[in-house]
Structures are given as structure tokens and as C-alpha cells.
Subunit: 201 residues, 2 copies
């Protein structure tokens, strides 16, 4: 005999399929939705139903775009410099970069980072597409804006090796002390990278 009604357990099971949502969390979410106004669950249902139909991937930058757009709005913007391309792992990294409000170039989404443990090899990433874009867009600078993690560094090194025979400047984001952090609390690796990359004052 099940203690909970079927309509509830199927929702818990469906929520539980989202990465990062365990069975207890799924129960909590489901119970919250059940107690809330039905419009909340209906609205969520409608957005989920439309999700895949309403979104596609930009054929040039591989950012997420609306189904009815040709290319990314940002790439189509004539004020953005197409000869500068920031290479990021995921579409969300674009948001982080755009929050600065100072970057005037465009983006290229790799679709992940090299991670042999997770079975992600360089050929799974959009590196070939980057190389052809460097040629077709007359790119002058490729900025490797990957995470400061092992996977991020490995990917950056690989992409750089693939671009080294092309007539393009390849740079990457500086590593160093995050702003507002006391020297004594900085970890050793960050500190040694900050020392290596020291700049004239």
C-alpha cells in the first residue's frame, strides 16, 4: 500500500531525475508546489513543455538563442568586435562576462571542458568550429576564458596548441589574487600564479 497518492509520487520521480535533486529534495519541491496555488505548477509545466522547442543553438557562436533568431543577438550587434573572440566552456559563462559590461568582443561556446574522467575528449568540443571561425571572421585575438580549474587549464592548453599555426594572438584570463582577499588567506597555488604573473607598477 502506498502512503502517497500516485500523482504525487510521479512528480517526485520526475523531479528526482534532475541532476542535483535527491529524493528528499524532490519531495520537498513537490509538496511545496502541491500546497501552492495550482497556477505555479501549471506555469512551470508550460515553460518546461515549451523549453526545447523555443531554444536553439547559434550556428556561429554556439550560444543559446531563441528559435526564431538567425544568429546570437550579441553576435549580430554591429557594435561588437568580431575580430575578438572570448572562448568559454558553457553558455552561462557569457552571462558572467557580460555582467562586467566592458567586453566589446564576441564569444565562442566550446560546449564543455576536456575531462577524460567524465569521458569528454577534445573532439567533443567545438574546437574545429572555432578554428574555421578564426579564418572566416578574420579574428585577431582569441581570449581563452575557461575556468581556473585543471579541466579549464587543460582545455586552454589544447585550444592554444590547435591555434598556434594560425595568424592569431591567443591570450587567456590572468590568474592572481581575487580582489578583496588578504594575502594571508590566499591559497599557495593562487599566490604562486600571482607572483609569476606580476606586473610592473
Amino acid at each position: 500500500m502506498s502512503v502517497l497518492p500516485k500523482g504525487f509520487t510521479v512528480l517526485v520521480d520526475a523531479l528526482n531525475k534532475i541532476s542535483g535533486v535527491g529524493p528528499r529534495t524532490a519531495e520537498r519541491y513537490a509538496y511545496y508546489l502541491l500546497r501552492s496555488d495550482p497556477s505555479k505548477a501549471k506555469n512551470l509545466a508550460a515553460t518546461l513543455e515549451a523549453l526545447h522547442e523555443s531554444i536553439k543553438i547559434c550556428p556561429v557562436t554556439f550560444a543559446l538563442i531563441d528559435r526564431d533568431e538567425e544568429v546570437s543577438e550579441l553576435y549580430a550587434d554591429p557594435s561588437r568586435q568580431k575580430h575578438t573572440v572570448a572562448v568559454v566552456a558553457e553558455p552561462f559563462d557569457i552571462i558572467a562576462m557580460e555582467k562586467m559590461g566592458t567586453y566589446k568582443g564576441t564569444y565562442h561556446v566550446l560546449g564543455g571542458l576536456v575531462s577524460p574522467i567524465d569521458g569528454i575528449e577534445p573532439e567533443h568540443l567545438r574546437i574545429r568550429e572555432l578554428i574555421s571561425r578564426v579564418g572566416s571572421d578574420k579574428v585577431e585575438e582569441v581570449i581563452l576564458a575557461t575556468n581556473a580549474s585543471i579541466e579549464g587549464e587543460t582545455t586552454a592548453v589544447y585550444v592554444q596548441s590547435q591555434l598556434k599555426d594560425m595568424d592569431v594572438k591567443v591570450t587567456r584570463l590572468a590568474r592572481g589574487l581575487p580582489i578583496g582577499v588578504d594575502l594571508e588567506y590566499a591559497d599557495q597555488i593562487t599566490l604562486s600564479r600571482a607572483l609569476e604573473g606580476r606586473q610592473e607598477f
Copy 2:
């Protein structure tokens, strides 16, 4: 200019409305669903759409039941003793009790705990319904199975005061050392409750 497509941001907003899901978590869930097979999002959409229609509240025990059931399956089961009623705060507490596999009585869901800070007063709970059930079901024992928190204790004391003129035994779950815990790690309140409630050996 928005960096993310609209179909994505509306899903993030809808997920963000679930209690306990912040904007970053909502983005993570949405992105996971977008990258997964569309059937995952569609299935979740379908269960959410059907949620409120498929579930109702048992008119006797106030547990969650299927729309097509008259009363809770557990209450309808002739092997469950209707003269013993465990009073719990939420439908989920029934699951915890049922996991024991040894309780043979029935349940009564209060629908919360007295918590003046959250604006939950005794009149918001199903205490009147409990009193009338004690009469109609010839209940012999009411077991107060509320949390061992301030709200749980307050609620238990209140329910007990409402039942004291009726011909029914009112008990509550024992407080004491949880099994497997070393004495030296038990908190002071638990320990003093265990001492008060000491039993002959």
C-alpha cells in the same frame, strides 16, 4: 539585450518560484533539463500539469489521496485499528511512521504546527476535526506524534488541552537518546528529557 533566450529565462523564473530554489540553482536545473533528452522536461511538465487535479485530501484523516479515492487507503484498510490515532503535522510524517512497519493504528494530519511567528494559530490546524473524530470513531488513544521542536511541543500541549475533557487516553512519542548516540555527544536538553523519562530495567 538579453544574453539568454526567453524560453530559458521563463523556465528559470518558474523554477525560482519553488521555495528553496534560488536563482543560481534554478539556472542549473534549467540548463540540465535543456541539455537532457526533451522527454525528461516533457515528462516533468505532464506530472506538474496533472498534480492538483490528481490529488485531494482525505476527508477523515487529511492525508493526501488520489482524486478517485473516497478516504485514505490506509484508513479504509480493515486491519488498521481505528481506535488508535497518531496525530502528525504533515502528510510526510505518515511516511516516517509507516517505515517502522509496526504501527497498526490510523493517522490524523493537523496540517502544520502552531507557530505564532509564521502566523499559524491553533485554529488553522485540524484540531476540531480531530475532536469530532475521537467521538465518531470511538478513539481510545490519541498519540501525539509531532516534532520534538518548540512548535511540535506547543502543538502537542495545545491538542492535549483540547482533549482533556474527553474519555480518551492521550500519549506522546518518548523523548530520549537516539539509538546509536554516545552519551557524551547528546545535547543537554535531550539528556535531561531522557533522565526525566527513565524507565525501569
